[in-house]
Symmetry: C2
Subunit: 289 residues, 2 copies
């Protein structure tokens, strides 16, 4: 089955399970809004691509890992948009969850999505204990307070921030979990896959900082110019636009070089390049060629 | 080892792991504030009591379940205290997390505690796949958007609320997870333990509503009179003080009668009665005798 379709079907199964009656209807609706609002599914696609490159002999496991990562990502977006953080009215061109459903349901939808992410891994855990143990640890690290997305967002509340540490946690954590988790789901030796995820995560974050600096709200479906407005550390603030473009280029090249030997190496490489072109601002897509 | 000590040691191990360097120091501090601020540990004590009543042959599993439940509970308290919900300045006589660390770190500390709860179960998952699968499902249900604490809090955002559904999700879910999870951790048939948790959860919630109505802020370490102020459904609003006292009494009696046959039945019964006396408002403690 085509990866995009696999991902949407797996997400639908997970959210149907998490929001079936007798749950409170407005919370269910807020959760669906958070998950099914046109996300690019970058992380689950990367996870499935790595699993496929490693043989993908247990698709139920790679589907679960991909789904869990996307749910954790959606949770972080909902919470990041809250008034106390970015106070963003728009996300992917639609009202953010707190704008559409209020702040209370946005907090709770994010919480429920974190729970659902782990629930999805819990469902497959008994059938493949060793792989699932690694997948659970990978997801927990990616979400956590040390090097995960909670840490990444929290670095914005510290007086001293190192930009690479901040980016590694805020964005790199879920990308590293996508590659390590995808390899784990396929029963491969997972640690050699970490560098690919880390490099792609950094590249994606630099790309995001560039989009914030040079794109229009219409083009990317969310407010731009937010990084300087929120005093947030950004590659553009540190390296300028040209410096950030060079950094992005180097990160993508490093990422591709880091791919471990595996049956589907060439296909994975092509898929990653295609994906990076798709998600980067159009003016910049030549740099990663 | 004495249960209180087991719980504190297990919580300390979990939080040390979740907040070790290189995590952002203020987030780590906010997480510690949320977990180590004098909680009564009602849910993990209930979990260990049930595990002990069922033989507790794998204490690492019951410790993990008890810890995970308390972390999920702490997360819900941090988020419930936020300005968009209760806007509570105090919790257990200390500043609430958002008062002490700001709203951003309160959101993130709650998120990280949910992640850590599942991480703790993930650590023991490979060593006992069948029991851990049940424990993971139990935790996910207890935290979730259908019948878990996210649902419970979200019922406050609906126009139509049934008080039993609301209480069952908001408080009963974690109590049911404590009994079902404790029994699962000990390898017992877990479903027959659900009624005990559900009844105790309802009793505890009715007791909480009564505390809000008749106690002083000094006596319980948090603002009182919040339920009518927040237009929140409450047993006192529906049944009055006398009606709530009678309901509480009946729930505790039903709970004790529901205990399934097990080696440690009498000790468990005595422990539950002692615990209910300890946590209920002093003026009411006679009712549960």
């Amino acid at each position: 089955m085509e990866p995009n379709l696999r991902i949407e079907q797996a997400l639908t199964r997970a959210i149907d399970l998490a929001t079936a009656p007798p749950g409170p209807p407005r919370l269910s609706s807020a959760i669906r809004h958070a998950v099914f609002a046109g996300g690019a599914r970058v992380r689950p696609k990367l996870c499935l691509s790595v699993a496929l490159a490693c043989g993908d002999d247990r698709p139920a496991l790679s589907d679960a890992m991909a789904t869990a990562l996307e749910l954790l990502h959606c949770a972080s977006l909902v919470h990041d948009d809250l008034p106390c953080f970015d106070n963003a009215d728009l996300r992917r061109g639609l009202p953010s969850v707190h704008k559409a459903y209020g702040e209370q349901l946005a907090v709770l939808a994010g919480d429920a999505l974190i729970v659902t992410a782990f629930q999805v891994l819990g469902i497959v855990a008994t059938s493949a204990p060793t792989r699932s143990g690694r997948m659970l640890a990978t997801l927990a690290t990616a979400g956590g307070a040390r090097t995960g997305i909670a840490a990444g967002q929290a670095w914005e509340c510290e007086e001293q921030v190192s930009l690479p540490d901040y980016h590694r946690a805020k964005t790199g954590a879920l990308f590293a979990a996508a590659t390590v988790g995808g390899a784990s789901a396929a029963g491969a030796d997972a640690e050699p896959w970490r560098a690919l995820g880390e490099k792609l995560g950094e590249a994606y974050q630099v790309g995001d900082d560039l989009r914030d600096a040079i794109c229009t709200e219409q083009a990317i479906g969310k407010p731009v110019g937010q990084d300087p407005l929120n005093g947030r550390p950004s590659a553009v603030a540190e390296l300028g636009i040209e410096g950030s473009r060079r950094r992005l280029d180097r990160l993508v090249q490093d990422a591709l070089r880091s791919i471990p030997p595996c049956p589907g190496r060439d296909l994975l490489r092509a898929g990653i390049l295609q994906e990076m072109h798709r998600v980067l601002p159009c003016k910049l897509s030549m740099v990663a060629a």
